[in-house]
Amino acid sequence: MLHTVNKSSFERNSLQTCLNTIDDSSVILFIEDGVINAANNTKSSMIADLATQGRVFALQGDVEARGISSKLADNIKLVDYAGFVDLVVKHGTAVSWV
């Protein structure tokens, strides 16, 4: 499955709830304000393990728009919209954590 998260963990618990129910083969893509979760900050530990496994992606346009390109946490993979489409194709059912 592909889980998209579009909220900052400083605003809502969408990422936490996503993490609570994500299975071992699923990946996470941060979009919109969700990319704030991809920045290196006090909540980065939430996704550190998954990122190490190469299972955390962030939408490049949203990262750049928010000025956090140079502040990304370790092992976050950036994708463009075509990459987003590929993730949906590759990972089956898409779940949006809004």
């Binding site: 618990n13 709830t17 609570n20 129910t21 299975d23 059912t93 898409a94 779940v95 949006s96 809004v98």
Partner: protein, 134 residues
């Protein structure tokens, strides 16, 4: 028409935003398509099905009553997050007693609500073909 597994993810309470009632509207329509439908209530979404909602004071329709009709619409898989309930100081007894009549068991009345842990919910979600978030 092929049968797919549809899950409706409900994570917000009843009246603050339109999502809860318009989610229920989709569910009622979806029933006519004879798909495999389940509803998940997580986070503040668990408040959608607590007993004793009364919206008279806010001038809005009390659509919590409509959840009681879901059994008649053959929608009887309502998964409620155990952790979300606990975080909010709620237990199963705070929820509406939603039931359906089991055609395969001489129409015996059975509970539609199932309290599930995060791990159980993970397994259920993994089987879904379509997830609609509200």
């Amino acid at each position: 028409m092929a049968t797919k597994k549809f899950m409706y993810l409900n994570r917000r309470s009843s009246f603050g935003t339109v999502y809860a009632i318009e989610s229920l509207e989709v569910v009622l329509i979806a029933a006519a398509f004879e798909q495999d439908v389940s509803l998940a209530f997580m986070d503040d979404g668990v408040y959608q099905i607590v007993e004793g909602q009364n919206s008279d004071g806010i001038g809005m329709k009390n659509f919590s009553k409509t959840f009681h009709a879901l059994g008649d619409y053959d929608i009887n898989k309502l998964y409620v997050s155990k952790e979300s309930l606990e975080e909010r100081g709620l237990t199963e007894s705070d929820l509406m007693p939603l039931v359906y009549e089991d055609e395969d068991d001489d129409w015996a009345e059975k509970p539609s609500i199932k309290i599930v842990t995060n791990d159980e919910l993970t397994a259920i979600m993994s089987e879904q073909d379509v997830c609609l978030s509200f």
